[in-house]
Amino acid sequence: MVSKVDGTDSREVQALQAYLNEYGQQAEVLSRQLDFMERQRMESMAAIDALKALATEKQSVILVPIGGGTTIRAQIIDPDNVLVNIGADVVIKRKNTEAIGFLEDRIKELEALEKKVADSLDQVRGQINEIAKRIDQEYRKAQAG
């Protein structure tokens, strides 16, 4: 796709604009993916903090949101055993420390994936800048002429 941009006739501002829209859509999709992964990573980090805190505090009382902006006080009866959704909608029981290890691994994987997506996003943004510059040049040329 990139090479086709380079080969475009300079008069075809409309075509450049279409490329710009196309890359804009791609950038939007990648940004959404990145946001989603970032949220997952933050959630995992928050879960690790919670698990660590619960492990040191026996018989903790927490507030559990039950929807509609309401919460209920609940007592943690077994902070040493955690139910973890390991993937494929399969939930297994893990020790608190094992669950933390699992979440840490998940964070590492997400970081690697985020890097990959961010690299792709950078590439697409680079293309967007390049096309925008070309459009700008064409307008300037048209104005000068």
Partner: protein, 335 residues
Amino acid sequence: MFDSLKNRIKTVQEKLSINIQAAALTSPPSLDEGKGKQGKIRLTEKVRTLVRDRELILSEKDIAEPLAELELVLLENDVAFPTTEAIISTLRGELTGKRRRIGSSIDTLVVESLRSALRGVLGSGFDITTYLRTHEKPVKILFTGVNGTGKTTSIAKIAYFLRNKGFSVVIASGDTYRAGAQEQLSTLAQRVETKVIQHQPGADPTAVIFDAVQYANAHHTDVVLADTAGRFHNRANLMNQLEKIKRVIKPDLIIYVDEAVAGNDAVIRAEEFNRLVGTDAIMLTKADMDMKGGAAISIAHTIGKPIAFLGTGQAYEDLKPFSPDVLVGEILGEA
């Protein structure tokens, strides 16, 4: 592609090899080995030989630990539970209970058993070019799927792929619902030099696709690629619209498109679409971004339909016709 799965399968592979080696070293000699006039001498000689020259029968206990680990690895990488069970069961069957000569390499035994187990759940794939060559033209292909998975871009990629294979293509812009969908498709179609049939936004998608089929008949076009608006399977009215398209157009193929990164969600959605409107083949997009490979491994096994294509990047040529052997090679780190 599938980096997380690949790395972890490699670890399990090594553990399986170690366990089999340990079992070979500790297992009693087979009955044949003690026979002969100089039984004792032969036995001693045999014990001295390398593990690779031995025959042994592996028990389930010998490989229980790495298999349990493999089960977790597969589940953690979003491989659906029934598919995971099928892989483990095949692997267990391949490795245990049979008298086998380890041969020159335990690693080869493990790799080949893993290959056979993975290959068993991937199905045979779907060769679209053979299908097109052997069916009456125009072949009408309907694309279905949820919103935002890359259906429209995938159609442009498939058009590009098919044109390069010598087929003439027309695209029906059946997504008359999403704002900008028609502009997007006409831009993409222009890039891949393919005719696109469009109506006004909000028009009946069945009419658009019908016109595209008429165009294909009149121009002796080989393939009609029909785009549709993305929809979730729980939206009854939108699913009814698909049903109407299917009834009127009678597509030769229905290709369900979803993103590989959606993992188990993609499998569940594919199952629902198959149940409601039928599916003949699957395309998974964004496979290059997928660290886990769960959807790619599970989807064919779960819904019993083959994968036709994998989308592997942003450019039009980033489309791989799905080959189960290539995918297994990729997962086993051979690609």
